[in-house]
Amino acid sequence: MRLDPQEITLYEGDDLPGFAAVLEDNAGNALDLTTADAVYIQIRHPDGAVTEDELTITGAVSGTVTYDWTGVQTRTWGAGVHDITARAAYPADAVIAPADRNCRLIIRPEIGNV
C-alpha cells in the first residue's frame, strides 16, 4: 500500500502524528522564511469552516514549519478530510502553499466510545 506523503491520518482526539512541512517550490527550492512576519496554517474543514493558527518556524532558511494540533482540536474538527495550506506572510506580500491543494489531514472517527 503506497501512502500519499502529503496526507496525515489520525483519529479524533489524537495529538499525534504532528504536522511538520517544508514550504518550497516545485523544483524543491525551500522558501526562505527569514524575512517572513509569520507563517500560518489554514485548515479548511468539510463544512467549509476554516481554522487559522500560527505555525512554528523551526527552520527559517530551510522553510520548515511545525504545528502541534491538540486532541481537543482534532475532536472538534471531527472525522473527515480537511485541506491544509500554509500562508507565509511577508511585509509586502504573501506566499500560499501548496498551490495544488494536495495536502490533507484525514481524521477518522474515534473507536469504541466506551
Binding site: M1, R2, L3, P5, Q6, E7, I8, T9, L10, Y11, G13, D14, D15, L16, P17, G18, F19, A20, A21, V22, L23, E24, D25, N26, A27, A30, L31, T56, T58, G59, V61, S62, G63, T64, T66, Y67, D68, G71, I84, T85, A86, V95, I96, A97, P98, A99, D100, N102, C103, R108, E110, I111, G112, N113, V114
Partner: protein
Amino acid sequence: MTVGQRLRLVQNVTAAGANYGTGNYGDADGIYGERATDPANLLNYVAVPTTGGLGSTPYALELSVGDAFPTDPGFQIIAFGGPFEDQEGTILDLSTVSTAVLRATKMSAGPAADLEQTLTIDAVNDILTRTMTTADFAVAGIYRAAFVIDFTSGRRMTIPAHAQFQIKVTDT
C-alpha cells in the same frame, strides 16, 4: 515548466516548538533529521502481533467467545518514515508511553459492542501485552480495533491510523 509552491510533509522534526538544528535542509553537513526527540515523529504506524500463534491477516487476533487464550498476546508498534514497502520500520520505544489501551468496536451484524482493555507496557522489549480473561471478548463478531497510546508528554496517538486492525471472535 510551471513553477508553483508546494507544501511537503517531512518527518523526524520534533513538533515541540523548539529551534531545530543549525544546518540547512539538504545541506551535506546539515543536521536536519538527527536531533528529533519526539518519540512519535513519523507518519505511519502499524501494530504487529509478536510470535506465539497469532495471525496477521485478515485478522490480527482470532478467538472464540470466552477464550482466555492466547494468555498474553503481544504487539509491537512499528513506525515507518514513508511508504511501507520502502521502509524497514522502527520499533516504537515504549519508555515514554504512560498508558495503552486496546479499543474495539463491533462491525458485524447483531448487538453492538464496544470494548476497552488496558494493556501492559513492556518497555524493555517494547511490547504491549494483554493478560486475557474470559470476559475480554464476550460478544461474537468482527471488531475494528486500534491501540490508543498516551505518552508521558500528554499527547495521544491511535495506531494503526491507516491499516485497519481487526479481531474476529467466533461464537461457541
